[in-house]
């Protein structure tokens, strides 16, 4: 059993670290990277809702990121809406899209679900690419100015970082509540024993659908922040690789955990943006890291690290052989 105290203290340390981060790093560049991680983390958290707690592996989660981003930019720069209206419509419409997509995708389960989400994602990508009068085609849409909510200057990287961090905080809180809520518990039940849940009076489809829509909503929030961050959106945001990367974040970090997707997001964003400056073949490294994670920490980085820590704690003489053997023992259980 994980000890709640150490999780809490670790989270607190993490929170403090996140808050003071802008004072520690040497360049605005890293603050921007942190903002990107936070946005990716929100998207990964929302996908984790489906993958981790619902057992629904989606390969089309970029849909919500992309659609919300396209809508918010289109509405504010082309259709003449204000920032707030644009944002609300974008999130509302994207959530509505999730309702439709959920309706279609939940007709199947397992691999069928995965394929429908992938196909729907590809269709959206195609629309974004082809409908160039509206989406700008491959050139994408740009020209979005970041809003000034409550007089905050979001053009300042540090302010923007805190802005995003607030959303990440709310997302984490919502996810934590969700996990322990009636709906969250029901969703986890439908993942493990759908038939049983049916017999216990749960409308499995409805519970999965509601969760799907909830995940879509948070995907839309991530998309909105993505649009504000990049001030630009192109079909790449809707592409299969974006969905796949998000799925990788979730699985690598640890499905069904709160911090897993955040760690996974950090890993992928850092590899892609920072490490690539030093290692030309960073994609190979990314691949190798995933393979290694799966082989040696199959439950993901966060639960895996917990396990290793526990193993370290449990062995009174921290000599290396003992650690290894306890890890091995854990694995074989």
């Amino acid at each position: 059993m994980r000890s709640p105290v150490s999780t809490l203290s670790l989270s607190l340390i993490g929170l403090v670290a996140l808050l003071v981060m802008p004072w520690l790093v040497t360049s605005e560049y890293y603050i921007n990277i942190a903002s990107q991680i936070a946005i990716a983390a929100i998207l990964a958290l929302s996908l984790n809702l489906l993958v981790g707690w619902g057992g629904m592996i989606s390969l089309g989660h970029a849909a919500y990121l992309g659609v919300a981003a396209y809508l918010s930019i289109y509405l504010t720069t082309q259709a003449g809406f204000g920032h707030l209206t644009g944002a609300l419509i974008a999130i509302g419409a994207t959530t509505g899209l999730a309702m439709i997509f959920g309706y279609l995708a939940l007709r199947a389960s397992g691999l069928g679900f995965l394929m429908i989400t992938l196909a729907l994602g590809q269709i959206l990508w195609g629309v974004a690419y082809r409908w160039s009068s509206l989406t700008g085609g491959d050139n994408g849409l740009g020209g979005l100015k970041r809003p000034h909510p409550f007089g905050l200057n979001l053009m300042d990287p540090t302010t923007f970082y805190y802005f995003v961090l607030v959303f990440l905080g709310i997302a984490l809180l919502c996810m934590a509540r969700f996990m322990q809520s009636g709906l969250g518990q029901s969703l986890q039940g439908t993942r493990d024993q759908p038939r049983r849940m049916h017999a216990l009076g749960y409308n499995v489809w409805l519970i999965q659908w509601l969760s799907f829509v909830f995940a879509g909503f948070w995907g839309a929030v991530a998309g909105l922040l993505y649009a504000y961050y990049n001030q630009f959106v192109s079909p790449q945001a809707l592409h299969l690789t974006t969905s796949a990367e998000t799925l990788l974040m979730v699985i690598a970090g640890g499905t069904g955990t709160l911090l897993g997707p955040v760690v996974g997001a950090a890993l992928v964003v850092i590899l892609k943006n920072v490490v690539s400056a030093y290692i030309t073949r960073w994609l190979i490294l990314l691949g190798v890291i995933f393979v290694v994670i799966v082989l040696f920490m199959p439950e993901g980085l966060v639960p895996g690290a917990r396990r290793v820590l526990r193993a370290l704690k449990n062995s009174p003489h921290t000599d290396k052989d003992a650690d290894v053997s306890s890890i091995v023992r854990d694995r074989t259980q």
Binding site: Q185, R196, H198, L200, G201, I207
Partner: protein, 247 residues
């Protein structure tokens, strides 16, 4: 005229052209204890699944407390006061015993759609679950995970999860299967303690226990009802012997 707890008319179910249940008609008055007998493959569990709503019948009609539920899904039927246990135990093994009962309780409550309120803080729910565990004599295991419990204890938990929903119609699929003699007695006692107004339909192979328990017995074979009647009638009926000995 009293309303039947369960009324089945002309029920059929085919699997790829093969009938698993054929023309079953059955009427179970409220409060009755009904036993379903029959050799393996007689269609008893399929019949159960049809009543529970796991899959739709190919033909026929099912009514629960007078309401036609033929086209209703399993969860809707549960909300009409039906509960069931499974032949092969399907619990949530990583959760605690108490948690399992809570999941069962939440199934009938609105909070199953609530994405915000913390289930752990709804003490009424947990108290009620604990009370159910007391009823089945599992309160001492409340905080253990299901994985840590014995087979017999899980059987009882199965029943507890069904009882927690305070059903008016309870479907028990071989509640005694695979239990030791002691455990059997525990479960038997538990079954006997269920209030009389609960209608129980039970599949069971253990004749002694089952016969002692049931008011009316239905014997099925090849998906059909062969004999139906009181204990004495059924035991005396030559067709019963044929089913059990003559195959």
């Amino acid at each position: 005229m009293t309303i039947s707890a369960l009324e089945v008319t002309g029920l059929y179910r085919y699997f790829g052209g093969l009938p698993a249940v054929r023309d079953v008609t059955m009427r179970i008055p409220a409060g009755e204890r009904r036993l379903l007998l029959g050799p393996n493959g007689a269609g008893k569990t399929t019949f159960f699944n049809l009543i529970a709503g796991d899959y739709p019948p190919s033909q026929g009609e099912i009514r629960i407390f007078g309401q036609n539920v033929t086209r209703k899904s399993a969860n809707q039927r549960t909300h009409l006061g039906m509960a069931r246990t499974y032949q092969i135990i399907t619990l949530f093994p990583k959760n605690t015993v108490l948690h399992n009962v809570v999941i069962s309780l939440v199934g009938l409550r609105e909070c199953r759609f609530n994405p915000w309120s913390d289930l752990r803080r709804q003490t009424a729910l947990w108290d009620e679950a604990r009370a159910t565990l007391v009823l089945v004599g599992l309160e001492h295991l409340a905080d253990q995970t299901v994985m840590e419990t014995s087979y017999g204890e899980r059987r009882r938990l199965e029943i507890a999860m069904a009882l927690a929903q305070k059903p008016k119609l309870l479907l028990l699929d071989e509640p005694l299967a695979g239990l030791s003699a002691d455990e059997r007695q525990d479960v038997q006692r538990l079954l006997q303690s269920i209030p009389r107004d609960v209608t129980i339909v039970m599949i069971e192979h253990d004749m002694d226990v089952a016969l002692a328990f049931a008011d009316v017995i239905t014997v099925m074979q090849h998906g059909q009802v062969v004999v139906e009647g009181s204990r004495a009638d059924v035991v005396a009926d030559p067709k019963t012997r044929e089913v059990y000995l003559g195959q």
